[in-house]
């Protein structure tokens, strides 16, 4: 187990390295000088451009730039953003909190809606509710988040005026974007839950438990639930990882001041330190959560041995 974790951590570093190198190369070959202008049509004074290029080490060859990035990263320093010239960590910090709020809310909704729906569908297989849930969850996958987001916005913000368009930091303004993000995941969780539960219900140990006269509730809780939940946990863990990396479209539609929105804007402005910061974070969290999920998997299901 210990060696497995160490090996996986090693792989993680390799992946992070690969992803950041690719990113650096792409950003490096992008036409346009990242400090050549601000947003406007006016070019920056060449003297200022030169000063800034020097300040940010943009005249160095790519490997040197990358080396500096790694060196600073090791000290928790992601550099300074090119527009406001503030530390990237300071700029992204509050945005990360916002994104995490959104991700958490979405995951809670996923669990609540997804597990319940999956449970009902599996327990009452082929009933009206099962058919309805199966249909809805299949449909949900077909709705892109921007369509869901725009529909929700139209209905609840513009038509009914229940929710303010401008996020005021309250739970109320969190509902729509969280829901937009959660619909797809909840549908998938429900499908997953239904599928695995049906499989588990057929398993011999469940039949044995029922046969030896254990109360239905005990069988469900102790045997069925525990074993069905494993793939769901896996899925949710990984999903949470990608949510933390920022939900670009949803954040853009709902003006959620998270790192996904920051990323979209940074790409438009070639604000490289922000791009690098968000992407490295996203990749890192994603890989880390993968590892955690795999470990959790082993804990929940003792049959799985990690080697």
């Amino acid at each position: 187990m210990g060696r497995y974790v160490i090996r996986r951590l090693g792989q993680m570093v390799v992946v992070l390295f690969g992803a950041t190198v690719i990113l650096f190369c792409c950003l490096f070959v992008l036409p346009g000088d990242p400090v050549g202008s601000l947003g406007g049509d006016k070019a920056r004074d060449p003297a200022v451009v030169e000063q800034l290029r020097e300040r940010y080490g943009l005249n160095d060859p790519l490997p040197v730039q990358y080396g500096n990035f790694v060196k600073n990263l090791a000290q928790g320093d992601l550099g300074e953003d090119y527009t406001q010239r503030r530390p990237v960590t300071e700029v992204l910090g509050p945005k990360l909190v916002n994104t995490a709020q959104l991700a958490l809310a979405a995951i809670v909704l996923d669990i609540a809606i997804g597990l319940l729906a999956g449970l009902i569908a599996a327990l009452f297989r082929y009933s009206f509710w099962d058919v309805l849930i199966t249909l809805l969850t299949t449909m949900a996958v077909g709705f892109p988040s921007f369509v869901i987001g725009m529909v929700l916005q139209k209905v609840f913000v513009i038509q009914l005026e229940w929710v303010p368009l401008i996020s005021d930091g309250t739970m109320k303004s969190l509902i729509l974007p969280a829901f937009t993000l959660a619909i797809l995941d909840a549908a998938l969780v429900a499908r997953l839950m239904r599928g695995t539960m049906l499989e588990v219900l057929r398993a011999d140990y469940v039949k044995t438990a029922v046969a030896k006269g254990l109360p239905r509730r005990t069988v469900l809780l102790k045997h069925v639930m525990r074993n069905s939940i494993i793939p769901v946990v896996t899925y949710l863990g990984i999903s949470f990882g990608s949510l933390l990396g920022g939900a670009l479209i949803t954040e853009a539609i709902f003006n959620w001041d998270g790192i996904g929105l920051a990323l979209v804007q940074a790409v438009q402005q070639q604000n490289n330190p922000i791009i690098i910061g968000v992407v490295s974070f996203g990749v890192g969290v994603f890989v880390l959560l993968n590892l955690i999920v795999d470990l959790l998997y082993a804990v929940l299901d003792p049959r799985i041995r990690l080697a």
């Binding site: 992008l30 036409p31 346009g32 000088d33 990242p34 050549g36 202008s37 601000l38 947003g39 406007g40 049509d41 006016k42 070019a43 920056r44 004074d45 060449p46 003297a47 200022v48 451009v49 000063q51 800034l52 300040r55 527009t83 406001q84 503030r86 300071e90 700029v91 509050p94 945005k95 303010p164 368009l165 401008i166 853009a252 003006n255 001041d257 929105l261 979209v264 804007q265 790409v267 438009q268 402005q269 070639q270």
Partner: protein, 547 residues
């Protein structure tokens, strides 16, 4: 330059230009005194900086102008209004300016505002370490190169013969230097400011303006201003100004929604919603409209085929139906421009100076195209920056060029920085959409940067680093600009600028004007009186009063 600033272009508000006849809005007549007090609330997008050393777009200017008072301010129609400059003397050669500074005014921390405070402020902007984006207006002052290049520390051209006298020496004649000082970069700063790298001051500047900061700038959240009761001039009436910072991706939509729900007292609107908003708010007198000091135009690359001759460029201009696009695409809320100088500069404005801009003329377009070698089937690159809401109207222009001249127009949308890089590259051809806004109310601020050969500023590789990216190069035009700068008499000077504009924009069609810069705002005139849009397209906070 604030015409097409970062904040605006992301927003999707189509930047389409013009100048200030400052109409609409406030019901100023009856009780413009108001009863005083009150909190004015508005939303802006996150500024680059509010410290005058690097405040640049209209959002940053809004805060800086209310925290600081300089030598002069600009009225909405581009006139100069003296503030701390009590008297001014200009030498006959136009190179030495001496300002008498009003004595006895203070910064909000108690420090006195004197000539030294100005020298301190200006030096701080230009100093090399500051790497300021707004140092360029100072470049005519002696010693600019040395200070900005880091080879000398004092600003050689500035001196204080006595505590309240500021002497400015320029390297070349400029009889409009005083107008430049309305830019927030020319603010005085107290000793407490320290260098530009002083983060505490960057986020909570101490100034001498009608308002002062309450707490620090809460990035991406808010900036709060309160009345400065020790202000050296007529005090503001509002108690407080609450500025919410909105996501740039959708700023105008959020401002509009906020206004509708009563969260804001001043707001922009997304372009597609404007006609609906106008119908709703104009009858309530809550609609503010102004032609501001900016212009939307097409850069034509003058050095490279196919637009390397005036006839080809005139053909393009004649082929565009500005009226149809203004009505069809902009729902009548943008107005065609027929000059590069905005109508807000009343002394120099020449309506219709660009003959080809006045009305679409298909026959003339074809005639000039034939003369200029712009054959049907010619490939014409037409670039624009993405994320600025330009997608729609550039397609309309492209279609008209195809229909009238049979050109093969290649639309090319790029994010800002790549767009800029391509415009700068030697050999780029065709057209590029662009916009320009005045930093200070002088025609020179349009004609010199956009059309003077001194603003091409090529580097070794031939990249045009200046703002004259169309590379218009005419010694005669350059001569007129130099002459105008050295002409003391305002009327004679205006004539020279007009002559220069006619030469570049009509005779040679170096650029192709499209639309004036018309700005629309909503203002809560039911709660506040005397609400107007200022020269920088911001609300005139210092004069607004609660009803």
């Amino acid at each position: 330059m604030r015409g097409a600033t970062s904040a605006k272009w992301v927003v999707g508000a189509v930047i389409v230009a013009m100048a200030a006849t400052a109409c609409g809005g406030g019901d100023d007549s009856k009780d413009s005194a108001g009863k005083g007090g009150g909190t004015f609330r508005l939303g802006i997008t996150e500024p680059t900086a509010i410290d005058p050393y690097n405040a640049q777009e209209s959002e940053g200017a809004l805060v800086a102008h209310n925290l600081f008072t300089g030598l002069y301010s600009a009225t909405p129609d581009g006139k100069l209004k003296p503030e701390l400059a009590e008297a001014v003397q200009t030498s006959d050669d136009g190179k030495t300016w001496t300002f008498k500074i009003k004595s006895g005014t203070k910064f909000s921390n108690g420090e006195v505002v004197d000539a030294e405070a100005f020298i301190r402020g200006w030096t701080r902007v230009v100093a090399k370490e500051s790497a300021s984006d707004v140092a360029y207006p100072f470049d005519g002052i002696n010693g600019y190169k040395e200070l900005n290049g880091g080879t000398a520390t004092p600003f050689a051209g500035l001196s204080a013969p006595d505590a309240n006298t500021l002497k400015v020496e320029l390297s070349a004649a400029d009889f409009e230097f005083d107008k430049k000082t309305v830019h927030q970069a020319f603010s005085p700063v107290p000793k407490a400011a320290g260098p530009a790298s002083n983060k505490a001051y960057n986020d909570a500047p101490i100034g001498n303006g009608p308002f002062k900061m309450e707490g620090s700038w809460q990035h991406n959240k808010s900036i709060t201003l309160v009345r400065n009761d020790d202000y050296g001039f007529e005090k503001a009436k509002l108690d407080k100004v609450e500025i919410s910072i909105l996501n740039a991706a959708n700023g105008a939509t959020l401002e509009y929604q906020g206004f509708q729900s009563g969260q804001f007292d001043w707001a922009r609107m997304p372009t597609p919603q404007q006609s609906v908003a106008k119908a709703k708010y104009e009858p309530k007198k809550q609609w503010v409209e102004a032609d501001t000091s900016g212009i939307n135009y097409l850069v034509a690359f003058n050095e490279t085929a196919p637009l390397n001759n005036p006839d080809a460029r005139k053909a393009i201009s004649y082929a565009i139906d500005r009226d149809a696009i203004a009505k069809g695409v902009f729902q009548g809320l943008q107005k065609p421009a027929t000059s590069i100088l905005p109508p807000s500069f009343a002394d120099t404005y020449q309506d219709g100076v660009c003959t080809s801009c006045v009305k679409q003329d298909k026959d003339k377009a074809k005639e000039y195209a034939a003369k200029g070698g712009l054959k049907p089937g010619t490939v014409l690159d037409f670039g624009y920056n993405t994320g600025g809401g330009h997608e729609e109207w550039v397609q309309a222009v492209a279609q008209q060029l195809k229909d009238v001249l049979g050109l093969e127009v290649k639309l090319n949308g790029k994010p800002f920085k790549e767009a800029l890089a391509q415009q700068q590259t030697k050999g780029t051809s065709g057209l590029w959409r662009s916009a320009w806004g005045a930093d200070y109310p002088t025609p020179d601020n349009f004609l010199f940067p956009l059309l003077d050969s001194g603003s091409i500023n090529p580097d070794e590789s031939g990249k045009a680093l200046g703002d004259n990216r169309g590379r218009y190069n005419n010694p005669k035009f350059d001569e007129l600009i130099t002459q105008a700068r050295g002409t003391k008499d305002p009327a004679a000077r205006a004539k020279l600028y007009q002559e220069a504009e006619k030469l570049a924009v009509d005779t040679e069609q170096a650029v192709i004007p499209l639309w004036k810069r018309t700005q629309y705002r909503l203002a809560a005139t039911d709660k506040f009186t005397n609400v107007k849009m200022d020269f920088f397209e911001d609300p005139n906070l210092a004069e607004i009063a609660a009803k």
